[in-house]
Symmetry: C2
Subunit: 713 residues, 2 copies
Amino acid sequence: MASSATNHGEKATWVLHAPRPPGPWREFMEFSGDQETRPMDILPSSPKHFKQPSTASLAVETPTAEEKLDLEKNSNPVQRSEWVLNGPEPPGLWHELMDSVRETASCCGNKYSSLKNQPALKSVVSIQREIFPILVWGRSYNISKFKHDLLAGLTIASLCIPQSIGYATLAKLDPQYGLYTSVVPPLIYAVMGTSREIAIGPVAVVSLLLPSMIQKLQDPGADPIAYTKLVLTATFFTGIFQASFGLFRLGFLVDFLSHAAIVGFVAGAAIIIGLQQLKGLLGITHFPTNTDVISVMEAVWTSFRHPWSPHNFILGCSFLCFILISRYLGKKNKKLFWLPAVAPLLSVILSTLIVYLTRGDKHGIKIIKHIKDGLNPSSVNLLELNGPYVGDVAKVGLIVALVALTEAIAVGRSFSSIKGYHMDGNKEMMAMGFMNIVGSFTSCYVATGSFSRTAVNYSAGCETPVSNIVMAITVIISLQFLTKLLYYTPTAILASIILSALPGLVDLDKMYKIWKVDKLDFLACIGAFFGVLFASVEIGLLVAVTISFTKIILISIRPGTETLGKLPGSEMFCDTAQYPMAVKIPGVMIIRVKSALFCFANANFVKERIVRWITAQKAADTKGQTKDKEAIHLVILDMSNLINIDTSGIATLEELQKNLISEGIELAVANPRWQVIHKLKLSNFVGKIGGRVFMTVGEAVDASFGGKIATAC
Amino acid sequence: MASSATNHGEKATWVLHAPRPPGPWREFMEFSGDQETRPMDILPSSPKHFKQPSTASLAVETPTAEEKLDLEKNSNPVQRSEWVLNGPEPPGLWHELMDSVRETASCCGNKYSSLKNQPALKSVVSIQREIFPILVWGRSYNISKFKHDLLAGLTIASLCIPQSIGYATLAKLDPQYGLYTSVVPPLIYAVMGTSREIAIGPVAVVSLLLPSMIQKLQDPGADPIAYTKLVLTATFFTGIFQASFGLFRLGFLVDFLSHAAIVGFVAGAAIIIGLQQLKGLLGITHFPTNTDVISVMEAVWTSFRHPWSPHNFILGCSFLCFILISRYLGKKNKKLFWLPAVAPLLSVILSTLIVYLTRGDKHGIKIIKHIKDGLNPSSVNLLELNGPYVGDVAKVGLIVALVALTEAIAVGRSFSSIKGYHMDGNKEMMAMGFMNIVGSFTSCYVATGSFSRTAVNYSAGCETPVSNIVMAITVIISLQFLTKLLYYTPTAILASIILSALPGLVDLDKMYKIWKVDKLDFLACIGAFFGVLFASVEIGLLVAVTISFTKIILISIRPGTETLGKLPGSEMFCDTAQYPMAVKIPGVMIIRVKSALFCFANANFVKERIVRWITAQKAADTKGQTKDKEAIHLVILDMSNLINIDTSGIATLEELQKNLISEGIELAVANPRWQVIHKLKLSNFVGKIGGRVFMTVGEAVDASFGGKIATAC
């Protein structure tokens, strides 16, 4: 442990020589304006702003330095109780609202405000740099960095090409759309993104989510072109939502999917994606559109009873084994990091050769056949912005936007915190949004940061987003010249490539940790998991969000109370359950509410409990069981953890006060916080309890005993 | 102010002679079992349970008295930090659940357990007394109390008869149903209820709520009998729900309608009820079924353009003025308290006479005509428990049950707290439920405690629920012999009686107080008000509940932070905004999160803010602006107000720790609470921050400076 005990003498000296506080005006200015000099710029060696205590603007609100010194030496409990009662008013609702708006805007605000003194040209350059981080890191880019990026880019390209085709199939689109999506979005992200490791392209969860929602509007089997149009429109909306989240600094929306919910959701989605691959692996022709486990297993069971060709299965499974073994080797030997990355491409090449040489397609092996070659065609005229489904598609776009951002930001953050640089969440959203909007104009579906490829990119030693550019160029070359070579590629191989990426998504270890630490979080996790598995992808998400928020409400309004006692050898009062060594004060009941709110939902319950305790105690007194013990004469409510109170809470306090008075017991309040004391004053509750508001529980107890002794004398 | 300062020497002596704490086992036994001896039974003069410190069962968990003394004298910050880290485990989720179940059941549990040693007959008597409080207060009932109750009962009967007929019309039932409802429920309540003042019968808000929901299922104009059947079925369900709330101790459900929401809802409902009276007052025949302001005003506007008879209006208005003037006189002169109470009955008699003598019904004055006489007929065969609407009617029953209970318990509580006795919420619910179930068998619709009649009952000097019995008997007599006399009573009088009761329900003063104290509460209040006014009664309720709960979520997850400083002359660290005199410690950033949860929804926002501050500080340092100031070397998170943390919160703390390490800054945690420190230990976060967990912020600061000095030497 880094701490070491200091003796009390030393502490006392230090207490006496503590720096003097700034006045409220100065505090306010620091809080609202210049962020760069707050909140730690006051030093005992330079108490600058106390040298002019009579400056007009300061003198109004600030006590003079002499008064302060006086105050510091002689501050006693009574005076401190005055501090509690006569503090400044807390900011109102409107003020708080404006503050939070200002803060969410402050990141760029601060930066732009520093531009004011610069010439126009320079400030244009600065704003450009804000929007395009490539202008910042590009200036220090060199050949050595490029070598790393080239290697990493080629590695992720070899993983990306087969994965893109597979994910496009999962999204029920033609294979070339997956490749298109690996061209335009990575190029745009490389220019606008702030993460150095994220590999952009189609990902498994989004490729599952899109068709599961859109096929309810348009069956991809019946009219593939109409379906594709809706997917592209959804991509457009996804981009719009993502960009506006970034523009309006709504990054916190991504946080509404809790860690636990994401773990459960991704695990469930991985299993569903795995089940979808059974179609390719077993060569099933009639596959259900519902994604839940039961429908899929029924379809698989039905297909087994018909004659089926085992060739697809054997081919897929053997290459799945090959990929998994190569991954195992890559993990064992760090030098072979490239092996798991190129294994999928190798599988594609080998299996294509096998099928071509053995003419396996004639023996029941399903092959990709034709992939349209050529670069991304324009898809502006495919967007249906005034079709009948535009509202539903926009809703799909919103859900996909949140899920895609959650995945990208989670993966980006985990790598930026390893490398120790700051990833700007709002800028990321802008970049993602812009790349999806442009993507929807150029035949791409929703792209985001991929878990698996980002990890490969990192371990291949990427330095900058240039690796994404290298990848995109490689995919362009493939699209132009190599799609014809994929004619004989068996679909079973695509299934095994996707399957091989799934085990990493089912994180049993993390689930166990969540279970160990927080049972309610685990409930959200398992709710999302089973929701995805047995109902549908959206219901899984809905279950997770609902459980997460219900948990917040439950914990916030739980009417728990704890009895406090004094810790031996200190002035602190603590929960006697947490600290069994804490000592209860005879004749005084010290109670703290275990929630941040004393409100309509819990206030009455707490009141009833206190009254019940007191009645029970009185009954015991009359029976003579506790004759020799001192009866309760004071109830202290420690309000130190109450953030807020509402009118129902205050009304309940007043009732409690009346009840206690009728039993001859006093009520005191200790350490109310800003909003709470303000409201208690406004509703005149402070007057009703005779001003018994104290800074600490200890002072409330002292005051009570002091008073008692005084009246006894 | 009652407090007075004690000197420090006295405090110190008192601290040293503080009583010694009980062991954890003893604490546990006190917490879970015998409520009568907790939580205040430890006195310095009788430390009984420390005289046998070696009793086997205690010795396991309790340190010996000598150890304790030792601990108390020598406790230092390092030791206290150990206390934080090595505290007992908090109760698990299951344990907490069982505890809360046990507590809700404890009220009767305790009472019944004390019966175990009594003979069988006696315990049966005791249980009877629990269920029928009349057996308790009945024994001390005497003639002097009866005189008061007789007077009060007759007074409320005279108010009740015209109001009941009016409310039945509001509920779109035949007038006699209102009178039936004033017979059976009051009699049952008198036997089972715990409040002494509540006057039971039909009330305005419920009489509005019932038709507004049921007429969607069955139009009362088209088939009045089918409509009445549904209302009686809804009454049955209301009773079932209320009784089960009482039986399963779900009294807290009533608290879910916050004080503010009720004020707004009742005010809105009063205006709607007033508008409904325009039908009777203006003699409009075509009145809309929708209750919102716009529909009603349209109907009124349309009716004005047709020829209309002003006789109804003149008659109604003049008697409304009479009632209001009599109320004013009653308020001015306390001796005339009976005047406002009998004014409605007087108006009925007078107006009936006028119409009878002038044959006003021939000149367009609408009269009640026939009221079925005779006592409540049985309605068991009218209940439709397996009809097509049973599900919808049950839902109506649930909503009405909650609203009716809220009104009854609010009015009961306000008078019981004036008289200073305890009203048992769960027993009240049982009584209300039972009276409505029996009511639904005897042609009554939903009865509950009425605001206006309870106030009259109180000021007429009622002593016990016998006043309800007197009132019921009076209504029985009227039903048997006097209904024929009401043939010529004009409907406009009923409208004016209801109108006269409404101004008390629109409490502008309370609304202003809510606005002053809590703006968000006011939003719930005004939401309920406008919801009722412009949409419908249920939507008003829904809006109020939604706003109330959204507010809880918002406050709970608001990512606010506050910077702490040391209060001069004490060891306390407080919010520098609330206490401008608090001193910031140079080189240390002390932060407290302004919410009870550090969770997925706010953790990341807080982390980003801290990182931004530190980056800004660093940038300032490099620019040389703060050259002479000490750079931040320690961030202390004061966790004293965090009730809980979730896995996302812990993951964010880990990220924050990584970010801070890369800047060369240490992270320390002060005063984590039970659940929090438990989870931090489980997830090994304590190890990751090098065990820097302290009891207080002060100790964390001391430890940091101590360490610094040590390394410098």
